[in-house]
Symmetry: C2
Subunit: 230 residues, 2 copies
DNA sequence: ATACTCTAACTAGTATACAAGGATACTTAG
DNA sequence: CTAAGTATCCTTGTATACTAGTTAGAGTAT
């Protein structure tokens, strides 16, 4: 890791971003476990960088509720907050439903084609059982619809808010999602957009996002220490 | 201003927040004009604080797109981005519409009473022509609905995104809003919630938020240098 | 006069030094 | 033996020193 850092020292201003990205990725993928305390000193030694860029990265993370810092005490990776996660699902469902209606008007042929391509790639991944890549392509699919409608910032907000929910999703990534149904829904959404049928598009999208029923209680018991108890 | 800062030196950890709040307020109320460049050194002299807390405040502001920092060059108060503003209105309309439907189920008697009180206060302000306070009460009204439904974070996101749109609203604050209509709409929303009529509540809220039709072109010509030109 | 080059005075990025509050373990008084 | 107090070592917050790009302007050559 320090090797990569050394390469960044040439261009000033990249270290802070690197620290931020690294920490965020590790938090999201639960290599930095919720509840784990993490000191600046530890990061200094780990990343071979001075405290300043680390502190600035921590400020950003704390603004996104990914860590919690107490003065003179230390920082802790935020526990997963089920209420936060629920609110992020609400946010996503509400906004994407509205955008997909716009998509029926706004998306052109080539964009619809792009979506179809994504679905095809997803089918390929299913047959190859490459679920990691499939996960990415799923995100890419939803993102493309939003960006195509000029809602890049909205997508950014959804992502920002999704930090707690995504960690839950990561916990159950191993478990079997029924990808066949998901792909069928993707195809349905695309064809509704193609046919410019907003009601149908919205309905399919809502079904799609609500499919992800999570056995919260199950996970919460299994990984009790990761969850905020309130 | 430095007097206040001196008082903060007792409790460590408050200076950064003070710098952040101060800058944000001044940007939002256009005392720091869009396009104005602002250096850390200038802030150091203005606030009598070292660069570190200032930098950390700037990091937060830049994450919210309120300033733009170029390495080794400087920071600039972000120009008002009309596309950003439009997207924030879309965000607000979409989310508040959804929440007000929930409100019909979730809000209890005392909460509805609180809303009615707010509207009464607003009427008082109109008769006293205290438009500054009225503006605050308007925000308070919408905020109360969201918080009451457990959507505090959603409200926070709306606020975070509203930075560009709010600056536009500030530009035209002097101009005559038709507060009578606005108050009537508030009353309508409250009674729809009280009667637990989600369709009506949503309709009234949408009308309400769409009332704020801004003569963008007008403002953009008048304050051309404040706006992003793309 | 104009165009070019180099320097000096900026800027922000990074590293380090110092300050102050919190936690813990050890000492000492009861 | 217990409990209070204190010393020491943590933590993060703040200030400052140092580094490296950027820019604007003075001065020179054409």
């Amino acid at each position: 890791m320090s090797i990569q850092i050394d390469a960044l020292r040439d261009k000033r201003g990249l270290i802070r971003d690197f620290v931020y990205d690294t920490l965020k990725k590790n938090i999201m993928e639960l290599r930095l476990e919720p509840g784990r305390s993490i000191s600046e000193k530890e990061l200094v030694e780990m990343l071979q960088v001075s405290r300043t860029p680390i502190r600035e990265a921590l400020v950003k993370l704390s603004q996104e509720e990914l860590i919690e810092t107490t003065p003179q005490k230390g920082s802790v990776i935020s526990l997963i907050d089920l209420q936060h996660a629920e609110e992020s699902r609400f946010l996503r469902k509400t906004l994407e439903s509205a955008v997909v209606r716009e998509a029926c008007e706004l998306l052109g042929k080539e964009q619809v084609l792009h979506l179809q391509n994504l679905v095809s790639l997803q089918e390929l991944c299913v047959s190859e059982q490459n679920y990691g890549r499939l996960f990415e392509l799923d995100e890419e699919f939803h993102k493309s619809i939003m960006i195509g409608c000029g809602r890049a910032r909205t997508w950014g907000l959804i992502q920002q808010m999704a930090t707690h929910d995504n960690r839950i999703r990561f916990l159950r990534l191993a478990s079997d999602s029924n990808w066949q149904i998901i792909l069928a829904q993707h195809r349905g959404i695309v064809s509704a957009i193609k046919e410019k049928d907003p009601d149908q598009a919205e309905k399919m999208l809502r079904d799609h996002l609500e499919l992800v029923v999570i056995e919260k209680e199950n996970l919460k018991q299994k990984y009790a220490k990761f969850f905020k108890s309130i």
